[in-house]
């Protein structure tokens, strides 16, 4: 697993409201995913659906370290990142339903969430394909003096493709403010990390480009936040790119089509012992930040948010057929 031992809530320097908000976001992501999985089974959602269960602490901790004018760019397993960035779960669910009210007007689906107004620059489904884009966004930030940091999220599987190495090299060379965040959940589809990567400690791949790199416990939301705060400060201060490897695990299959024949149930159970939501709840309770009533209320609120999202998605209209011919060129 690596990483440091769990950060004490009390030492995090965060107020109660912020801490509870982290838990709220993680719960919301988990419930959204569970509901999406259920709706997929019922045929309400189609295409590829990649759920984020188990990895919630990575998104919530890391994205909490950003300023509103910073950017997030991520891979196709993007629901958690979008939610943590504050995209409206109603419009996310509508996107999964392929409705006109979805964040990408129903054109993108699960893998392609996007909300330019919130600095959420996608949801990209070609593995590794968005890393060069992050470099370009960093270039624009420097050039236009936007003082913007780009958080670029991808999986362990995405660190074996040429784009990854090309992007790290150029990011360092051009000194762009990009925080590369690898969600190492130990598998790319059904292929275990050690079967696909000659180096098992992914952060070491960044070290060869002299990019500061570290491994973080991705099941610990506060550790994720702390590491990302440091990385963002480095990038914003003109230090160039930074690399984080979050050790995490996806509790469900790669996608809804995955029979999960490649890993032991016992391995999954072991990781579930480190469920980031349960771990954080325990710590908040132990240190007296969370009461049973708080939790009950939070459960209720997040249930309602998801239920409202489903209702909104159900009731939203399909995109009009005229949409087919729109948005292809800026100046047709």
């Amino acid at each position: 697993m690596g990483g440091k031992t769990a950060t004490k809530v009390g030492q995090s320097g965060l107020d109660k409201k912020t801490l509870l908000n982290f838990l709220h976001q993680m719960l919301l992501i988990r419930k959204f995913e569970d509901k999406a999985g259920e709706l997929y089974a019922r045929g309400k959602i189609a295409g590829f659906l990649h759920l984020y269960n188990g990895e919630e602490a990575v998104a919530v901790g890391a994205i909490s370290a950003l300023e509103p004018h910073d950017l997030v760019i991520t891979h196709y397993r993007d629901h958690g990142h979008a939610t943590a960035r504050g995209l409206d779960v109603k419009r996310l669910m509508a996107e999964l339903f392929g409705k006109a009210t979805g964040v990408s007007k129903g054109h993108g689906g699960s893998m392609h969430f996007f909300d330019a107004t919130l600095g959420f620059y996608g949801g990209w489904a070609i593995v590794g394909g968005h890393l060069p884009l992050a470099v370009g966004l960093g270039l624009a930030s420097n050039y236009l003096r936007k003082n913007q940091v780009i958080l670029c999220i991808f999986g362990d599987g995405g660190t074996n493709i040429g784009y990854f190495y090309e992007s790290l090299n150029v990011a360092k060379l051009w000194n762009v403010p990009v925080v590369f965040l690898c969600e190492n959940n130990l598998y790319g589809m059904g292929t275990a990390l050690h079967r696909a990567s000659a180096i098992r400690e992914v952060y070491r791949k960044a070290a060869v480009f002299d990019i500061p790199a570290e491994r973080v416990d991705g099941m610990d939301v506060l550790a994720m936040r702390e590491a990302t705060v440091k990385a963002v400060a480095h990038a914003r201060g003109g230090g160039g790119p930074y690399f984080l490897e979050a050790m995490t695990y996806r509790f469900r299959g790669h996608s809804m089509a995955d029979p999960i024949l490649y890993r032991d149930k016992s391995e999954v159970e072991e990781w579930k012992q480190r469920d980031p939501i349960i771990l954080f709840q325990q710590r908040l309770r132990e240190e007296g930040v969370l009461t049973p009533q708080d939790l009950e209320q939070m459960e209720r609120e997040t249930d309602e948010l998801v239920a409202d999202a489903v209702k909104f998605a159900e009731e939203s209209p399909e995109p009009p057929l005229s949409d087919l011919h729109e948005d292809i060129y800026a100046n047709p």
């Binding site: 295409g47 129903g106 054109h107 070609i126 590794g128 599987g157 074996n160 292929t191 696909a196 949409d323």
Partner: protein, 328 residues
């Protein structure tokens, strides 16, 4: 003859060719535990060992390039690129290397390799995962491009592709894996570059390939109920292209309609139409028409996606328009 699925037919072809020739090996993304994104290689690693069936990282450039190198080194690799959309990441190796080795080095060496990739839309995978990019690759001399529509052709073409001494891009269709059909057991070869008349008719020739062959056949059945007999030619291979079969059919029906899922501009239909008019202009009673995918990045929403992919209704409408031009 046993009725099996397209997936099983492809699986049998791989199994038989691996048994026949020790130099055949399979590598690519998720071919072992996952059995390939669509299950085609399922069980092969267990039966033939991981020396012959093994996973590669998500690194299409090296998968394709290593296949070229392995072929130069004396092997007959079957590389799995997962989908045609990801073949774009390997396009340099496919186009600049695989397709060039033979001619550029004066015929000293060929590269006997197969790259398998899934193409096509219809599964709501959105625009980067639903493309029909075959014409981009069929454009390139030195490559062979094969697009089977039926289980029997899948098996026969894959076996031939593996035995072929040239690089073959073998494009399967995402919606065909569960389609069943009669497939001969054991040695069943379909020659590369041979089209097939899948249905006879006298009124018009529908030229299709891959899944659109099945849609054209469906349209032909419906048209038949209205007294219109369409002949359906399945190209099966896009390069080499069997114009003989197409021209023979057009000389009989005097009308042609091309059907493709891919975008219309610069496409397969454009090529076929052009060749027909070059070689059989005098046999035509009406202008050739094309039914193609609507020219948009394929959206996720079901209603939009369905509207963008040709179906039997659109084919029927176009057939009637062609016939109307001749008063037929």
């Amino acid at each position: 003859m046993p009725m099996i699925t397209y997936r099983e037919a492809l699986h049998h072809a791989l199994r038989e060719e691996m048994t026949r020739d020790e130099r055949v090996l399979i590598f690519g993304e998720d071919v072992v535990a996952y059995g390939g994104a669509y299950g085609v290689t399922s069980g092969l690693a267990k039966d033939y060992g991981e020396k012959r069936v093994f996973d590669a990282p998500i690194a299409e450039g090296v998968i394709a390039g290593a296949a070229v190198g392995a072929a130069m080194g004396g092997l007959r690799p079957v590389a799995e690129l997962m989908t045609i959309n990801f073949a774009l990441l390997a396009a340099d190796q496919i186009i600049n290397h695989a397709a060039k080795v033979m001619h550029m080095f004066g015929g000293q060496m060929s590269v006997p390799l197969v790259m398998r990739a899934v193409g096509g839309g219809g599964a709501q995978l959105a625009s980067t995962h639903s493309q029909s990019l075959e014409s981009m690759f069929a454009h390139v001399p030195g490559l062979k491009v094969v697009t089977p529509a039926t289980p029997a052709d899948g098996k026969g073409l894959l076996k031939s592709a593996i035995r072929d001494d040239d690089p073959v891009l073998f494009i399967e269709h995402a919606l065909l894996y569960r389609v069943r059909g009669e497939v001969p057991e054991g040695e069943h070869l379909v020659a590369l570059g041979k089209a097939e008349v899948k249905r006879e008719g006298k009124d018009i020739t529908l030229v299709a390939y891959s899944r659109m062959t099945l849609v054209a056949l469906q349209a032909a059945d419906l048209l038949s109920q209205e007294g219109i007999e369409a002949e359906v030619v399945d190209l099966r291979s896009l390069r080499p292209l069997d114009m003989e079969t197409v021209l023979a059919s057009v000389r009989k029906t005097h009308r042609a309609l091309t059907v493709e899922e891919a975008w219309r501009s610069y496409g397969i239909g454009a090529e076929i139409a052009s060749r027909i008019q070059e070689e059989a202009f005098d046999d035509l009673d009406a202008p050739i028409r094309r039914v193609s995918g609507v020219e948009v990045p394929l959206p996720y929403a079901k209603n939009l996606e369905q509207a963008a992919i040709p179906d039997a209704q659109r084919i029927m409408k176009a057939v009637k328009e062609v016939l109307a031009r001749t008063g037929g």
